[in-house]
């Protein structure tokens, strides 16, 4: 087998096997270097995979040499290639910028463990996206969850611990619900491979274990993806985590759970269960709309900068679910694109917050006075990513807003009211982004704070600005992610092979 054929396996193996190696690299500088090298390597593999998928061949890899239903198969198609790019990109970028920020927050002797956990998180997420076996997804979901618990528990503030404990409890319940769902399906179909499941579920579809299984899987993954009513763990966890961890997790952790939900729903349940489209829409649509409106309004009145952005993440996840709940090609394209664009926008915003944290111990909006004068470049990057979050034209956010609105209009069932919801929430986004801008630019610096020019370290600033410019680039030339998103929509809903 040539090297290219091994790529799906290497995508998971490279970060996973380099994690134990990094634990041995005791001098802390080396640990960061090793982790970044592994991160960049996995990003390169993801790009190679995306290129391969773009010219049409879905990569299937039989693990251990055993054919699909008997062994575990890995499958990389358009949708997984897009999410892979997103996960490894966010991981590599956050790692590149992590050195200075992590040096301030994690003691040197604990850093090798920290970076090893980071790589395990990356490997876990990549493992979920690449895998085509239901139980294998559970195992890698556990790896990525454990890694993210460890990363968040590294937070300097004592409040990180109860926050991550609540996340652990809810995450484990979510994963176990998913396990029950998979168990029930396995009981009725006798197989664990997703494609095989889709083929065999036809004849047992009317029985109620399958319906209950669908319920359990959807609730479990909704819990992991922090969909609206089950999102209570997200704001605290992201607020008290170390800054660079928030960048990494906010960009891709919840999206992978949504990826599994969409893949499971459209491949396994969709055309098989009688009126399942209606059920999924009946379940997902109200939750998404509620999530968008409530989370945006809460974000508008939030005082702490990081918690504000974390709450707005819940709203943006609502958008992705809204796109998926249309169960149409346009809908899936919109939600896939928004996964990509939100990762860019939110990753950039949290990177800027990490820069701010260098000179502002307390990140409450009332304490950020005079930030623009002291750190003009960081604030500019923050404004650019904020605009992308709102969806101003010319930025990546606008593309996904445009697709979402067209999908809403095409969905027919009172499409216009959904358009109204999307626009109202964009205006709410304008309000809370502008609260930040006004706090940074116009608030007078607090009395004792010095106003000398003091920018964030160069390495962190460069990555922040790179992400900000990417936001604009993908706003004007979104061909790559768009091609992948369209491919995934055709695959999932269009019934293409």
């Amino acid at each position: 087998m040539t090297f290219m054929e091994h790529l799906p396996a290497l995508q998971v193996v490279v970060p996973m096997l380099s994690a134990p190696l990094i634990v041995l690299l005791q001098p802390r500088g080396l640990a960061w270097a090793g982790a970044t090298a592994a991160g960049l390597a996995s990003f390169a593999i993801a790009i190679a995979l995306a290129m391969a998928v773009l010219d049409g061949q879905t990569q299937v890899y039989a693990m251990g040499g055993w054919a699909a239903p008997y062994g575990i198969a890995l499958e990389v198609d358009a949708f997984s290639a897009l999410v892979l790019l997103l996960v490894t990109g966010a991981g590599a970028a956050a790692l590149l910028a992590a050195r200075v920020s992590v040096d301030r927050q994690i003691e040197p002797e604990r850093q090798p463990l920290f970076y090893a956990a980071w790589l395990l998180g990356l490997a876990g997420l990549a493992g979920i996206v690449v895998s085509a076996d239901a139980f294998n997804i559970f195992v890698f979901m556990e790896i990525s969850s454990l890694a993210s618990y460890i990363l968040i528990a590294g937070g300097p503030d004592r409040r990180a611990l109860p926050a991550v404990f609540k996340y652990l409890i809810m995450g484990t319940i979510g994963a176990t619900f998913y396990l029950i769902g998979v168990g029930l399906i396995y009981m009725m179909t006798g197989t664990l491979n997703l494609a095989d499941m889709q083929a065999r579920i036809g004849d047992v579809v009317a029985l109620n274990p399958i319906l209950v299984a669908a319920g359990f899987i959807t609730i479990g993954l909704a819990l992991k993806a922090a969909v609206f009513p089950l999102h209570v763990w997200l704001p605290n966890a992201y607020t008290h985590a170390p800054h660079m961890v928030t960048v990494f997790l906010a960009a891709c952790a919840t999206k992978v759970a949504l990826y599994v939900l969409i893949r499971f729903d459209s491949m396994v349940f969709q055309d098989r269960l009688s009126d399942h489209e209606f059920q999924f829409t009946l379940f997902a649509l109200p939750l998404a709309v509620l999530g968008i409106l409530v989370a945006s309004s809460v974000a508008m009145f939030e005082g702490h900068l990081k918690r504000l952005l974390a709450t707005s993440s819940v709203a943006q996840i609502g958008y992705i679910l809204l796109g998926a709940s249309f169960v149409s090609e346009a809908g899936i394209t919109a939600s896939a694109m928004h996964m990509f664009n939100h990762a860019l926008a939110k990753g950039g915003l949290f990177l800027a917050v990490a820069c701010l944290a260098f000179h502002f111990r307390d990140l409450r909006l009332s304490e950020l006075g005079g930030a623009a004068r002291r750190m003009p470049l960081t604030c500019a990057a923050l404004v650019v990513c904020g605009l992308s979050l709102i969806g101003v034209p010319g930025t990546a956010g606008f593309i996904s807003k445009w697709l979402l609105i067209t999908a809403a209009l095409e969905s027919g069932l009172w499409g216009w009211s959904l358009v109204a919801v999307i626009l109202v929430s964009s205006l709410m986004a304008v309000v809370y982004i502008w609260r930040i801008v006004e706090a940074l630019y116009f608030q007078q610096a607090s009395a004792e704070g010095d106003t000398s020019f003091a920018e964030a370290p160069l390495q962190l600033l460069l990555v922040t600005w790179a992400v900000a410019l990417l936001n604009i680039f993908f706003g004007l030339f979104p061909h790559l992610p768009l091609a992948l998103a369209n491919g995934s929509a055709a695959l999932l809903v269009g019934g293409a092979p």
Binding site: A9, M16, L17, G64, G71, A117, L120, P209, V212
Partner: protein
């Protein structure tokens, strides 16, 4: 006839679970959890899941109880009761129970041979194991070869837990209590347990190794062996005191064990790739594919055993060291 006995054990299981939840003394709750695990192991054995019964006994009853107790030693023994209406919680949970019981009526009856589970993938495994691997224990065959990738993920979950506990407990406790750390207590000055311990520990470790390498023939394998060896060393630490155990198996060795185990497993996979097969495809390891499979299974089981043993021990030492600090 066996069903009646199963019926009795399952009912006992439910009673233990309810007792655990109701009791307010955490120490009692932990002991009941240990009994709960033992009952689960018994149930598994009745349902013909020998490997799982051994794992549940070794990992569930043994190590979990030890970790719980060491955590209890650092936190309080008593739980504050929570007055007030429990209707909401009962309500939601009740709905879930109704849903599950409603769903259970279309499920195949216990032991029904025509159930879809036994039709599709399982017969292939039972038929192909003697042909490809020629080892009696089909569970180990699936665990290590057919679904070896799952077990690789599994080893890295254990690895993650190990580095997680080391990372979280790596922080020095905020307030050093004024009292000098009291002498390393264990049952140091009690002669009888020490004598019996010294007699037993070697046999426990020997039995662990037996389970490790006997994995292909009977119930056993990496996880169970790692847990048993870890329990043996923990028993030694309890009897002789934690410092003594650290002298016997120092922390660097433990870390080497965990990292070594995980890397060994990964290395076998990568070697398979280099030799031209897919990742974790052992048949390319040796000229004769069947021998290659057996070699692969043996090596990765050793890797799993090392990783699990190292991880569980370093977790125990992280908790125990914490005790002497506060």
């Amino acid at each position: 006839m066996i069903y009646v006995f199963a019926l009795f054990l399952l009912t006992l299981l439910v009673i233990t679970a309810v007792a655990i939840v109701r009791t307010e003394n955490l120490f009692v709750a932990v002991m009941l959890t240990s009994i709960f695990s033992l009952l689960m192991a018994a149930n598994f054995f009745i349902l013909d899941a020998a490997d799982v019964a051994l794992t549940e006994a070794a990992v569930g009853a043994g190590v979990t109880t030890v970790i719980f107790l060491s955590a209890l030693a650092l936190t309080g023994d008593w739980e504050k009761p929570r007055p007030g209406g429990r209707t909401v919680a009962l309500g939601t949970v009740g709905v879930l129970a109704m849903l599950l019981i409603y769903a259970s009526f279309d499920k195949p009856r216990l032991g029904d041979p025509e159930a879809p589970v036994h039709q599709h993938v399982a017969p292939w495994y039972l038929e192909k194991t003697p042909e490809y691997m020629d080892i009696p224990n089909v569970v180990t065959a699936i665990l290590s070869s057919f679904r070896g990738y799952d077990t690789l993920g599994e080893v890295f979950v254990v690895f993650a837990a190990c580095i997680g506990v080391l990372f979280i407990l790596g922080v020095k406790p905020a307030r050093q209590t004024a009292a000098a750390p009291q002498p390393v207590s264990g049952l140091r000055h009690h002669l009888i347990p020490q004598v019996v311990g010294r007699l037993l520990v070697p046999f426990i470790v020997l039995f662990g190794l037996y389970v490790q390498f006997h994995g292909e023939y009977g119930p056993g394998g990496g996880f169970q062996a790692g847990a048993i060896i870890a329990t043996g060393v923990i028993l030694y630490a309890l009897l002789e005191g934690e410092a003594e155990a650290l002298r016997a198996v120092p922390r660097s060795v433990l870390l080497a064990l965990v990292v070594g185990g995980a890397l060994l497993y990964g290395a076998v996979g990568v070697v398979c790739m280099l030799k031209g097969g897919a990742f974790l495809d052992y048949s390319v390891l040796a000229a004769d594919p069947v021998f290659g499979q057996q070699l692969g299974i043996l090596v990765i089981e050793a890797g799993v055993g090392m990783a699990v043993c190292g991880a569980l021990l370093s977790i125990f030492h992280a908790f125990a060291a914490r005790e002497s600090m506060t």
